[in-house]
């Protein structure tokens, strides 16, 4: 049908990442509506979104993407939620010569060594996370122990963090499996390494998934006993409830609805409150950004969905998002974007620890390496 623009959104609608995926989808739909002024049409063509559920499984994601391109004849696809799924999907885009816009999977390798030219990403990558966190933490005299998931997400994160830590000293890396239930032992190992170090001591946590170590860190009263502070990035709101125990904690995050000041964000927050009676969360912004990217590109091509044309258009393209202006870098198609240096405040009006903006870290402030071998 030449009067439609068909987009597949493949995400983990069910499975452990369901909550993340829901946010992305909500953001995507709001973003499309916003970008098209509520018409859901670009250049007279109706935008049709086909949702597909990869269940968090790479093999499922892979066949869904193939089916989307071949059976549903979509013009481009957005997703997925988890990095392993994304990695499995990359070659399919290449086989079918269609665009896959990755959102929000994080791993560096997606725009790194596994990348091909059909891949774009609006989501942040591990390096952006790490670089931004380094801004908050990389001070002379700081001594850091890293605690991360023992998987691609965690290890890529730590690798990137080490690249960006120049002035502070990283004395220990602790990887714990996803699904760890008792963090006591791991934390004790960290304490052993940290407690006799001079300087300001930090545990820097890069953790995705539940349960999280934050509660345990609070219970063990590390700050009181050894002066060891916690540093970590952003997270979804339910996970940030534990941040309340750490007023004054600093770090860098990808998105928090109260931070960015721009019309797009204002519109999204307002619309989200209207639809869901709650503020948008971590991944809502990503979905919204992806929508903005797609519509901006389609407007430029005047509705033409020819893949090569789209690629040409999108390379180097800038577009507005709830996080301000993003730009797809030519070399690896990663969207360069702002990150936010924050400080936690325990505000009784909110169930979670509120991150207050210290400084917006502009894309130009960060030197994100290009990791693909183009």
């Amino acid at each position: 049908n030449k009067n439609e623009i068909r987009i597949a959104h493949i995400h983990s609608k069910t499975g452990p990442l369901e909550a993340y995926a829901k946010q992305t989808q909500a953001g995507l739909m709001m973003g499309l509506a916003y970008a098209t002024g509520g018409t859901m049409t670009v250049a007279g063509k109706k935008i049709v979104v086909i949702e597909k559920d990869d269940q968090g499984k790479p093999d499922v994601g892979k066949s869904l993407l193939a089916a989307a391109y071949a059976d549903d004849k979509v013009d481009l696809a957005i997703g997925p939620t988890a990095s392993p799924v994304a990695l499995a999907m990359l070659p399919v885009a290449e086989e079918y010569r269609k665009i896959l816009l990755v959102e929000p999977a994080v791993a560096d390798s997606i725009t790194g060594d596994k990348w091909n030219k059909y891949i774009f990403r609006t989501g942040r990558n591990s390096s952006q996370d790490a670089a931004a966190n380094a801004v908050a933490l990389d001070q002379p005299g700081n001594v850091i122990a890293m605690l991360a998931n023992d998987n691609a997400f965690g290890r890529d994160g730590v690798k990137a963090a080490k690249d960006f830590t120049k002035k502070a000293k990283i004395v220990h890396e602790e990887y714990l499996p996803v699904g760890t239930t008792d963090f006591t032992a791991g934390l004790l190992r960290i304490v052993d390494k940290l407690k006799d170090q001079p300087g300001t001591k930090y545990i820097s946590v890069g953790w995705s998934g539940a349960p999280t170590p934050f509660g345990k860190i609070a219970e063990m009263e590390l700050e009181k006993r050894y002066g060891i502070k916690l540093a970590t990035g952003g997270n979804i709101l339910p996970a940030m409830v534990a941040y309340k125990n750490f007023p004054g904690m600093e770090g860098a995050l990808y998105y928090y609805f109260g931070i960015p000041k721009n019309p797009v964000n204002d519109a999204m927050v307002a619309e989200h409150y209207k639809q869901f009676k709650a503020p948008p969360d971590f991944f809502t912004a990503g979905g919204f950004s992806a929508a903005m990217a797609v519509v901006t590109a389609l407007k430029k091509t005047n509705g033409d969905t020819n893949t090569n044309k789209l690629i040409q258009t999108m390379e180097g393209m800038s577009f507005e998002t709830p996080k301000g202006t993003m730009t797809f870098r030519k070399e690896d198609h990663q969207a360069m974007q702002s990150m936010y240096h924050f400080k936690i405040k325990a505000d009784p009006a909110f169930a979670w620890g509120v991150p207050e903006l210290v400084r917006e870290i502009k894309p130009s402030d960060l030197d994100i390496p290009i990791r693909n071998k183009r």
Partner: protein
């Protein structure tokens, strides 16, 4: 009391201190060792609470309930709702007020889990008594349904379940730290253990259920209404799982719809080590698992993933039917 009669087998009881002592030189620092040991024992107690209901159901009724986890998750979610509605009590800086909030949370969680247990028994377990394979399938089905319904009611994401104010933090002894909440867990676990041992050894209920598993018709022919009895056991088992869920949720400080599924393998390991149906065995299994997880987590985190399984295999090599074999099944 049967627990301590003359030919009582003391060896398995020695395992727990043996493991702890073995770990001391490996860990080195005594204060770290104390912290780890106390943490391990307390974790063991919580694991015991969540596994206790399954020992009953599994050991006494011979029902392989793979859906036990759903009662754990349910208990935790119910508690999160109850506690959220009593914010004033949980955030008050008084131990008593906190406990006043915690107690109803536990009771409501147990009641709701028990009630669901009743439904579960009627709809899911009843057609499959005596058929292990079908039990596995149908209870797994029940668990999936339960988990999905939890998602429908409470949403698919995690919900924070912060500890009441006065249970936060630790008691510090020199360099060792003992979290306050863990002490509470030990107390609750001990109470559950005592209540179970008493009921099973001092009343006829335990006997009846064991007999009923072997030959239902005969028990009925002796004039007992085995149906009611089984329902009762199942409801109690589910309620205990609910309680376990509350304890586990508070321990993690978050609740997740999948949390039941996450602990499934763990509690099965505990029960196998214990000997399928032995309360004391399950306690020992839980404590061993708790200690092992903490020691290996400290000494060699990679190995920690396999420590439970290695422990189970080692125990089964020593005692192929678990430390306290209850039945010949």
């Amino acid at each position: 009391m049967k627990l301590f009669n003359a030919d009582f087998d003391w060896k398995p009881l020695g395992l727990v201190p043996a493991l702890a002592l073995l770990a001391l030189p490996a860990v080195g620092s005594p204060s770290t060792w104390i912290t780890l040991t106390v943490a391990g024992l307390a974790m063991g107690m919580i694991v015991f609470i969540i596994a206790s209901g399954l020992t009953l159901v599994f050991g006494l009724m011979d029902v392989l309930n793979f859906g036990h986890g759903v009662f754990i998750a349910l208990g935790a979610f119910v508690a999160s709702t109850v506690l959220a509605s009593m914010g004033a009590y949980t955030s008050a800086d008084s131990l008593w007020l906190n406990l006043v909030a915690l107690l109803p949370a536990m009771l409501v969680a147990m009641a709701v889990a028990g009630a669901l247990g009743w439904v579960f028994e009627r709809l899911i377990i009843r057609p499959v008594y005596g058929m292990h394979l079908k039990q596995i399938l149908i209870t797994m089905g029940g668990m999936i349904i339960g988990e999905e319904l939890i998602k429908v009611i409470w949403g698919p994401g995690q919900i924070a379940l912060p500890l009441p104010e006065s249970l936060r933090g630790s008691f510090i002894f020199g360099d060792a730290a003992v979290e306050k909440y863990r002490l509470l867990a030990v107390l609750v676990g001990a109470a559950v253990f005592a209540a179970m041992v008493w009921t099973l050894n001092r009343t006829k209920v335990g006997l009846l259920v064991r007999a009923g598993v072997q030959d239902r018709e005969m028990v009925e022919s002796l004039g007992y209404r085995i149906r009611q009895l089984f329902i009762g056991v199942f409801v109690v088992g589910s309620a205990l799982a609910g309680l376990g869920g509350v304890m586990w949720g508070l321990y993690q400080q978050t609740v997740l719809p999948q949390m039941g599924a996450q602990v499934n393998v763990l509690i099965f390991i505990v029960i196998i080590i214990g000997g399928l149906g032995s309360t004391l065995g399950a306690l020992i299994g839980a404590l061993l698992v708790g200690l092992m997880a903490n020691y290996t987590g400290f000494l060699a985190p990679k190995v920690a993933l396999f420590s439970n399984i290695a422990l189970m295999v080692a125990i089964l090599l020593w005692r192929p039917q678990g430390v306290y074999p209850v039945t010949n099944r």
